[in-house]
Symmetry: C2
Subunit: 143 residues, 2 copies
Amino acid sequence: MTEPAPDIVAAWVALATRSRRALDHAEAALKAAGLPGLAWYDALLELEKAGEAGLRPFELQDRLLLPQYGTSRLLDRLARAGLVTCAPCPEDARGQVMRITGEGRALRQRMWPVYAAAITSVFERLGRDEAGTLARLLGRIGP
Amino acid sequence: MTEPAPDIVAAWVALATRSRRALDHAEAALKAAGLPGLAWYDALLELEKAGEAGLRPFELQDRLLLPQYGTSRLLDRLARAGLVTCAPCPEDARGQVMRITGEGRALRQRMWPVYAAAITSVFERLGRDEAGTLARLLGRIGP
DNA sequence: TCCATTTAGATGCATTTGCATGTAATAGGC
DNA sequence: GCCTATTACATGCAAATGCATCTAAATGGA
């Protein structure tokens, strides 16, 4: 294994530390407002985008980059909180269709301003074009 | 709260999803090689850099962006695994000085090639200059 | 000096995660 | 149709995390 170039290592360190700080900041802002964390937000958003059709747990799993058991239990908690419903799937008797409830939509809507403020504060030192460049470069990392 | 610009949201989404995938990839590579995860690597590296002087737990906590109890328990596990030692601190009877052991250094050294390969694969689609730009932009995000 | 405040670190308890495995249903070869 | 492999999801158990709180020592007045 040949040593990665210094620029590569620098990019890795910056990616690891800065993303962690940014995510921690958003989590903290939500918690300080007495709201659930990012995982709940992300799940609610995906389910809201899916609309009436709903989502199968395995579809949500792909979108959220969660392990299978993580998705299963997250949905269980969301359902117990009344934020999503769980219906048997007509096309596949093994599966379910999860749909967001009105309460779920309402909660996501209350979370967004807090989340948005955190996002804004993370990028406030970057110009618009710099944010675009950052997004483009991040889009090219693998694996 | 005024809505963040689309470029800002795109940068946020890219940061959250790509960093997660990259970190997951490195964790998976280490695990596949039967090695401990990134948290252990990071702690061992900081302690190795600190050398004979060692580090106080609160110093490690700052460097690793961990909560206080997280650091306390991580060090406890590292010590039980024989990778670090814990000595009373001469200047402050409340505190300790943690130092890496030979075993700890050896483990970190065995982890590095695996970790380095994962890092390389994450950035393989980026040119050297692009990696530099990415590092610079990430360095400017807050808060 | 004495007391209140702050700082270093540990820890009990509840929640969450990770891992392995279990159950049930679909899909694919033959 | 039948048997095997695969897919969808759940779950028991151990380990890790988050939260609040505790102890002990240092610090900073008055």
